[in-house]
């Protein structure tokens, strides 16, 4: 049976480790994705991501399943290329909407590359 619990604060049974439920909602990642950006792009695993688009070399759009409240949320990401370095960057000018972001993968030499491992997470307020 489904149930709903309305509560302001959570504590462990001993009464310690208090945390407001607002921190649970605010502090949880709202989406994350791990995908292969080479060849035909493919999502390996994700949460609350509806799709990704291969826009061009090293350029991807990540579309969210649930909209954010505004475009002021935070992203962080990591990519993999030990030889050249690989960094996740916003597009410039930035494409950040309540339902999608556009990213580029750069090497340390500022070349734009497709990369095998791209991981991005989203923190902020849901709509």
């Amino acid at each position: 049976m489904a149930s709903e619990l309305r509560v302001n604060t959570l504590k462990d049974a001993a009464g310690n480790n208090s945390i407001a439920t607002s921190f649970v909602a605010n502090g949880s990642a709202k989406a994350w994705i791990n995908f292969n950006g080479t060849g035909t792009v493919a999502i390996r695993d994700s949460f609350s991501v509806s799709s990704i688009s291969d826009v061009g070399t090293g350029n991807y759009d990540i579309n969210l399943a649930s909209a954010m409240a505004n475009a002021n949320y935070a992203n962080s990401g990591m990519s993999a290329d030990l030889a050249a370095g690989a960094y996740v960057s916003y597009e410039s000018p930035a494409i950040i909407t309540t339902t999608a972001i556009g990213i580029y993968i750069f090497t340390s030499g500022s070349a734009i590359i497709d990369n095998n491992l791209i991981a991005v997470n989203f923190d902020g307020d849901l709509a």
Partner: protein, 137 residues
């Protein structure tokens, strides 16, 4: 009315590993378990090899310059964890280090992480911060 729930464990009723939480906008719901960070660590590589603070991290191995393996206490479900990392080296300002990951060594039990300079050379960094999302086993 304020309320307080004292509990040691939260488990979903319909699905044990799935609890819905209403988001900040009071309409959309999000999955509690999937949204929680599964591990984080703040560690040093430059002057000593030390974990300053961590959650769900059992150990850190120094594999060489700029090369660390972070072991999770509780295993991930697959090797597709989502890590984000930032690093800084206050003592080598000319070489801004960057966090990086080497995909072939992301496993269910650990992640191998590299810090490299702007020039792409391995570099021990003073401040390294990593957060890991994904599904627990």
């Amino acid at each position: 009315m304020a309320s307080l729930l004292k509990v040691d464990s939260l488990t979903g009723v319909t699905t044990a590993g799935s609890i819905s939480v209403t988001g900040e906008g009071n309409s959309t719901t999000t999955n509690l378990q999937q949204g929680l960070a599964k591990a984080w660590a703040s560690y040093e590589m430059y002057s000593s090899d030390t974990i300053r603070g961590s959650f769900n991290v059992s150990s850190k191995a120094d594999n060489g310059t700029g090369d660390s393996t972070i072991a999770w206490t509780n295993s991930m479900q697959n090797g597709y964890a989502v890590g984000s990392m930032s690093s800084e080296n206050l003592f080598v300002c000319a070489q801004q280090p960057r966090g990086n990951a080497y995909n072939s060594v992301l496993t269910t039990s650990s992640g191998r992480v590299f810090t490299i300079s702007d020039g792409g050379s391995p570099l021990d960094s003073n401040v390294n911060l990593i957060t890991v999302h994904g599904d627990l086993a």
